[in-house]
């Protein structure tokens, strides 16, 4: 604990003035950093989205705060070149240790520039579908439809295929099913187009698409694609499938379940089946 006389000597030497200056610079600098960061955010909020505005605000704050701290240290008499040298060695060590984190950071910057999706978009990454909650420095957070939080590293996103389900306002719904081979394909096509026409949610244009995919093992495979507003996707899909089932039942059009026909040979007779009664049980046990 320094004695009173030591404090008095120190006060008299003028060194306290350097400390006071440093503290003053720090205080003013940090306040200025806060004010300028808020001002920058207010100016940019009209031009950039919420996420980028936040990044810009933090960047301005840390830049000014960094300058302030450097100036304050200089006032206290520290030799900054030594500090910088030490910082260089430390950052090299940290760099090697944090390759993954740095990679995620850089990937995040690239993703921000490319903007394949934004906050609020529904995206599919691999088998995961979710709504983008936030795009952070190292990862992106998604909320799945069953309300779970998924964290995906930015590096993964940059390296893999990401499907943005919300980018365009309209979406095509592909309905695939098979009809029995005995059915008239032309008649089925006309019925399906009629059903699409009757549903107001089904867009008239782009026109519905009718494709004969091929002949399956037990059926003729069809694809009927209709377009809807993105928001009506699920409702139209359910509605169309219900309407198709109802109409097919009314018209007697069969959607067959898989079945296999047995033939003994070309132009063969039906295969005879004979029931053989079980052997009588011998009560004597012989």
């Amino acid at each position: 604990m320094p004695t009173w006389s030591e404090i008095g000597t120190w006060l008299g030497s003028g060194q306290w003035w350097g400390l006071a200056r440093a503290v003053l610079i720090l205080l003013i600098g940090l306040i200025a950093a806060r004010v300028l960061a808020s001002a920058a955010a207010r100016m940019l909020v009209a031009r950039l989205d919420a996420h980028r505005t936040l990044i810009a605000r933090r960047a301005v704050f840390y830049l000014i705060a960094g300058l302030t701290v450097t100036t304050a240290l200089h006032q206290l008499g520290f030799n900054l070149s030594v500090l910088l040298g030490a910082a260089g060695v430390v950052s090299l060590a940290i760099g090697f240790a944090s390759q993954t984190a740095i990679s995620n950071l850089i990937s995040g910057l690239f993703l921000m520039g490319e903007r394949p999706f934004g906050i609020g978009d529904m995206v599919r990454v691999g088998a995961t579908i979710g709504e983008v909650l936030s795009i952070d420095l190292l990862s992106v957070k998604l909320r799945t439809p069953d309300n779970l939080l998924v964290r995906i590293p930015n590096e993964t996103l940059l390296k893999s295929e990401v499907t943005n389900l919300s980018r365009f306002p309209i979406r095509r719904i592909d309905l695939t099913f098979g009809i029995a081979r005995k059915e008239d394909i032309g008649r089925v096509r006309a019925l399906l187009l009629e059903l699409a026409d009757a549903d107001p949610m089904c867009l008239e244009e782009p026109k519905p698409l009718f494709i004969i995919v091929g002949f399956g093992a037990a059926s003729v495979e069809l694809q009927f694609s209709v377009w809807a507003r993105r928001e009506n996707f699920l409702e139209l899909k359910n509605g169309m499938l219900q309407a198709i089932k109802r109409r097919f039942d009314q018209e007697g059009i069969e959607i067959p379940f898989p079945h296999v026909s047995l033939y003994a040979g070309s132009g063969s007779e039906p295969i005879p089946v004979r029931f053989v009664p079980p052997p009588p049980v011998d009560p004597a046990g012989g």
Partner: protein, 269 residues
């Protein structure tokens, strides 16, 4: 309670005192409104779109809702018994597609009449500005996309139209507004009219003395290079509706200039 509005038309102010009700059948829309203490009760449903839809804008006082109609309740303090029915043009552009292909040869011009099914706005209150309870279409038109690609474009309503060249008063349904479309083709190739995007949000609605409803005339000119030279909105009711009064203002009056930027935004072939 009278079977027409207070000014004798199928739309306008209807007096529905507390405890009373009335049913409307306008186009495919069936609607029932009941005035209860402190609230307005509205039931509505739409019949499927049917080309043979009867010419009807009927009001039957004292009739109640039908079982398939869903109820919506609006809590309103004002005890004023008037319900105002205001006809409106739809809330999105309408893509009119001729039932049979129509061509305007080079150098020719055509005056077509397109009938646009209307919407209805239900308002209550003792004085302007009235409180809007609900807006309903008289006919539920199908959604459609108007754009060169599925990525960029506009969501509209689809309408199959006969694009008549001569006005037939018998074909003017009470719940449809007639839009005169003047198309001038100064390009060297014929113009195939497969679909026209009618920007109804920028049009006013007028009621002619005989009761027919009209919108502003639209003039579209294709210049010698094949692009849109002019898109003009008629400043007032069209000539066929002399003496008409304006019953509804455009939904987007200020965006008339920005409405159409390219020929392909109106005609897509």
């Amino acid at each position: 309670m009278p079977a027409r509005s207070l000014d004798g038309r199928w739309f306008g102010a209807f007096e529905i005192p507390p405890g009373a009700r009335g049913r409307w059948e306008i186009g495919a829309l069936a609607m029932c409104v009941e005035r209860a203490v402190g609230e307005w009760r509205i039931w509505h449903s739409h019949a499927p779109v049917d080309p043979g839809l009867p010419d009807r804008a009927l009001f039957a006082p004292d009739l109640g809702p039908t079982p398939e109609q869903a109820l919506q309740r609006y809590v309103v303090d004002d005890l004023h018994p008037e319900l105002r029915l205001t006809p409106l043009l739809p809330d999105r552009s309408v893509v009119a597609r001729p039932v049979s292909p129509l061509f305007v040869p080079a150098g020719e011009s055509a005056r077509l009449y397109v009938g646009i099914p209307l919407w209805l706005r239900l308002e209550v209150g003792s004085r302007a500005p009235y409180q809007t309870l609900l807006e309903l279409p008289t006919v539920r038109l199908s959604d459609t996309w108007f754009g060169l690609t599925p990525m960029v474009g506009e969501l509209c309503y689809a309408l199959k139209t006969r694009c008549r060249l001569a006005l037939d008063p018998a074909q003017q349904l009470p719940y449809r507004a007639t839009v005169p479309l003047v198309i001038r083709n100064r390009f060297r190739e014929p113009l195939a009219l497969e679909r026209v995007n009618v920007p109804v949000r920028q049009l006013s609605l007028y009621a002619a003395p005989g009761g027919a409803l009209w919108a502003n005339e639209l003039t579209l000119e294709r210049d010698e290079e094949g692009s849109l030279a002019a898109l003009r909105f008629g400043p007032a009711a069209p000539v066929e509706a002399a003496g008409a009064e304006e019953v509804a203002r455009p939904r987007d009056p200020t965006s008339r200039r920005a409405a159409i930027r390219s020929f392909s935004a109106l005609f897509q072939s």
